[in-house]
């Protein structure tokens, strides 16, 4: 019993920074409708800034002042991000802001590396709170007790701010209906900035507060992201009490998980989230997202057409170039083009889901990495011939996608996106923590292709044929009756259902098909590298694909492939620089602001403007 209570107290103390970060994210989402992926980065800056300030400011007063100042500094960083990056893209197409915030993540990662260096920083202990107190005989760190007291105070302060002040009323009103608030004469731009500053400050505060427990390192931005999303989704987007309750549930559960089920702590969190969403689809305190709230912004998508003869010509020339590459190019260029082709297929499969299906999946890496792992596991454990493992991998990935899609498609909009992310993280944590089977962090190695495919040139042709065939098939399906039905379900769910189309069935099949293609890319990947590690399943891998699709252009057929080719080429160029993430991040932000229709969309617009291409339907 004593142990039990001690466990709960530890869990409650751990909930503190999770709650602060989550309610910041929730506030920002509620008002601006932006899912701020850079929120983890703000948390990280809070920790680093707090650390530096604690070195300078002496004693207990200095310690607590440093925490508060860290919050303020991050608040200012938030204002800068909002004004410089987000303001120009509020009018951009749906979810485009995500890519911008991802650019911010990259920039902050490299800036933190520049300023604070690569080594992990051990957080200073809080002056006067170094030891433990015994509660019912169990030792509890004094700092935990302090957190237990501080968190409810901050929660109460937030509650007061939200319910009793003018700013709070405006924020709540804007969460309900921001157009109306704008119509009533409230300056929306500054309201958004204010909320973003507040949300950022809370993240910074959370980062600084956890210093004595966790310190600061360069991975903490991504590490906090998954639990924070889980908390916000369980609690309900935009709900502060929800965030508080969910942070406690997750933290307490985590503490018990570490004690009783140490192999499954990560999995547990996602299982809870999935269960909650199955019962309450919009979280514990969330309200239903009104359809169309995340509706398409900007220009409606144009009707699709078969490629023009010029485009076909360009593609043929490019393909001929690839076919003759082994004659002229170095073996390095073969490996590079192989990687690029695989990535293009992966991106095209996500683009199919995202563009044609309108289904924003944040967890597409699950099928890519899933396909790779299925092949690798078959080879490692059952000595399956490579050819059979290669064929089974996409089917396995497709089945996984069907199962995940079956659950996720109950929801729409941002909840759908979050749930797909959670499932992908579930797959990742299964692989990561189930080390005895999957090799955990060490991955699976020695996964080579069959003898006849071993030579680099042969494998290059193998990948070339399969990737191009896969991409062409994806493209063709978009022109087929099925592709049209999928677009119909996206354009007008109501009309589609009213004319006999089972939209959920169509979307589920599309989800499975995209998973299959992602799995095919994954299978080609694992045999080209000879090994697979859990990072192929990571959030970052899913985001790579998302960015590529957005950069290429969601509303164009070629967007995925063009974006992938561009991204790989860019990565190749930038990797030579020490701070390539910074350059990449800035470039992403630049593209988002300057070319919100993506590369293909902007090229098309440009061609129309200078008269190379006929303007349609005017």
């Amino acid at each position: 019993m004593e142990f039990f209570i001690a466990q709960i107290l530890t869990g409650l103390a751990n909930a503190s920074s999770l709650f602060l970060v989550a309610c910041g994210l929730s506030l920002i989402f509620g008002v601006t409708r932006i899912v701020n992926f850079a929120h983890g980065s703000l948390y990280m800056i809070g920790a680093y800034t707090g650390y530096t300030l604690m070195q300078v400011l002496p004693g207990a007063i200095g310690f607590w002042a440093a925490i508060i100042l860290a919050g303020l500094v991050v608040g200012i960083v938030g204002v800068l991000i909002e004004i410089l990056v987000l303001r120009p893209v509020y009018r951009a197409p749906e979810l485009f802001q995500l890519v911008a915030t991802f650019g911010v993540i990259l920039v902050i990662q490299d800036l933190a590396l520049m300023i604070w260096g690569p080594q992990d920083l051990l957080g200073p202990r809080a002056p006067g709170l170094r030891g433990v107190v015994r509660i019912l005989g169990e030792p509890i760190p004094k700092y935990d007790i302090a957190l237990l007291i501080i968190t409810p105070i901050i929660a109460l302060a937030l509650w007061y701010l939200m319910t009793q002040t003018r700013m709070g009323v405006l924020v709540r009103a804007a969460t309900q209906d921001r157009e109306m608030v704008g119509a009533l004469g409230v300056n929306q731009a500054w309201l958004f900035t204010g909320v973003f500053a507040l949300g950022s400050a809370l993240a910074g505060l959370g980062g600084a507060l956890q210093l004595p427990k966790g310190g600061a390192d360069l991975l903490m931005d991504f590490n906090i992201l998954a639990p924070v999303f889980v908390v916000v989704v369980i609690g309900g987007m935009g709900s502060l009490p929800g965030a508080y309750l969910a942070a406690i549930i997750i933290s307490v559960l985590n503490v018990f998980g570490v004690t009783y089920l140490p192999q499954s702590t990560l999995v547990l969190m996602f299982v809870v989230m999935i269960v909650v969403l199955m019962i309450r689809p919009y979280g514990l305190f969330g309200r239903e997202e009104v359809a169309g709230e995340h509706g398409q912004v900007g220009e409606p998508e144009r009707p699709i057409k078969p490629a023009s003869s010029v485009m076909r010509g360009i593609v043929v020339v490019l393909l001929i170039g690839f076919v003759f590459l082994p004659l002229g190019g170095s073996s390095y260029s073969l490996v590079f083009v192989t990687d690029m082709l695989i990535f293009c297929l992966f991106a095209a499969s996500l683009h199919f889901l995202l563009g044609t299906g309108g289904l924003v999946s944040f967890g597409h890496a699950a099928y890519f990495g899933g396909g790779a792992y299925i092949a690798a596991l078959l080879i490692t454990y059952s000595e399956t011939p490579m050819e059979i493992a290669f064929v089974l991998a996409p089917f396995g990935a497709g089945l996984t996608a069907l199962a995940i899609g079956w659950v996720c498609l109950r929801l729409t909009g941002v909840y759908f996106a979050m749930l797909t992310l959670a499932f992908a993280q579930l797959v990742w944590s299964l692989v990561f923590q189930w080390g005895s089977v999957t090799g955990g962090d060490d991955g699976l190695v020695n996964i080579w292709p069959a003898e006849w495919l071993k030579p680099t040139v042969t494998y290059f042709y193998f990948v070339l044929i399969l990737s191009v065939a896969g991409i062409l098939l994806l493209r063709h399906v978009q022109h087929s009756p099925f592709g049209f039905a999928l677009r119909a379900a996206r354009d007008s769910h109501r009309q589609a259902e009213a004319t006999g189309i089972n939209t959920r069935q169509i979307q589920l099949i599309a989800f499975g098909f995209a998973g299959f293609m992602g799995g095919l890319a994954g299978a080609m990947f694992v045999f080209s590298k000879g090994s697979v590690f859990p990072n192929e399943l990571e959030i970052a891998r899913s985001f790579d694909a998302l960015i590529v699709v957005f950069l290429g252009g969601v509303k164009t057929l070629a967007g995925g492939v063009v974006g992938a080719g561009f991204f790989k080429g860019l990565e190749e160029t930038l990797l030579r620089f020490e701070y390539w993430r910074l350059l990449m991040g800035l470039l992403i932000i630049f593209i988002v602001i300057a070319a919100p229709e993506g590369i293909v969309g902007s090229l098309r617009k440009g061609a129309e403007r200078i008269g190379l291409r006929r303007v349609e339907n005017q």
Binding site: P300, P303, H476, H479, F484, R494, A496, N502
Partner: protein
């Protein structure tokens, strides 16, 4: 003469509010039947129940003698009921003709095919439907750039794609210019004649209703209060009260509440 579509004691309550209260009527074959009533009378609720969009509290709906309530909208559509929406719903990323082809593909159960080209399918049939609603000359235009009245006509073509026996039109002329309204209703009347389809529609514009409907039903506060031809409805004192604000409809209610 038997009814193609029939409701029996159809009722829907939202909490204490009876949105539709014991409504029974029949739509006869080849009829153009109007359902009118002031704002909040329960017209749209009634419609949504007929199309399976919402579930009734009690009562039944029959299509050619077969019970259809409890079915999903897409199942009701497959039984031969077409509908148009009060606020148009078209596929904005497609061309005009592709919108109609989509409905034809669905009707012929071909939406799961992946090896053919959708735009090559049922083009002639789609064109014929577009000709009927006078949209053939705009067949290859992008839906998103069209005028509202044109979208309404495309919706009509979509609704007729599976050759329905019953067509439900929820405020077909809402948001249209007066001239367009007359044209659309004349078109509808012509379709009723040519295609052997029975139409039930709701409408705000009384001129449209009186000029075209074969029969009119008046709904107020969820109840049917009158039924008959234009002449009957025009002269019905109860209807005049409802529309002209002459007083309370139900004796036990203060008239002031009904503005």
């Amino acid at each position: 003469m038997t009814s193609v579509l029939e409701t029996k004691h159809l009722t829907k309550s939202f909490g204490a509010i009876m949105a539709v209260d014991d409504v029974s009527f029949g739509l006869k074959k080849g009829e153009l039947l109007a359902l009118i009533g002031p704002n909040g009378a329960g017209k749209s609720t009634c419609f949504n129940m007929l199309m399976g969009q919402i579930t009734e509290t009690s009562g039944e709906v029959f299509l050619e003698g077969q019970k259809i309530n409890g079915l999903l909208p897409r199942q009701i559509w497959r039984k031969g009921v077409g509908r148009t929406f009060q606020i148009t719903s078209t596929y904005s990323s497609m061309t005009v003709i592709e919108n109609v082809q989509m409905a034809l593909l669905s009707h012929h159960n071909e939406i799961l095919r992946i090896f053919s080209y959708a735009t090559l399918k049922y083009r002639e049939e789609a064109m014929a439907l577009l000709e009927m609603v006078n949209m053939a000359d705009q067949a290859d235009r992008h839906c998103a750039v069209l005028a509202y009245g044109d979208l309404k006509r495309i919706e009509l073509a979509i609704a007729l794609a599976h050759d329905p026996s019953v067509l439900l039109m929820d405020e077909p002329t809402a948001g249209m210019a007066p001239k367009e309204r007359v044209e659309l209703m004349q078109l509808t009347a012509k379709i009723v004649e040519d295609r052997d389809v029975s139409v039930l529609f709701t409408e705000h514009d009384m001129d449209v209703v009186f000029a075209n409907a074969h029969r009119i039903m008046v709904l107020n506060r969820g109840r049917l209060i009158a039924e008959g031809n234009s002449e009957d409805i025009r002269n019905n004192s109860l209807v005049q009260d409802v529309y002209l604000g002459g007083g309370s409809v139900f004796a036990n209610e203060p008239s002031a509440k009904h503005a």
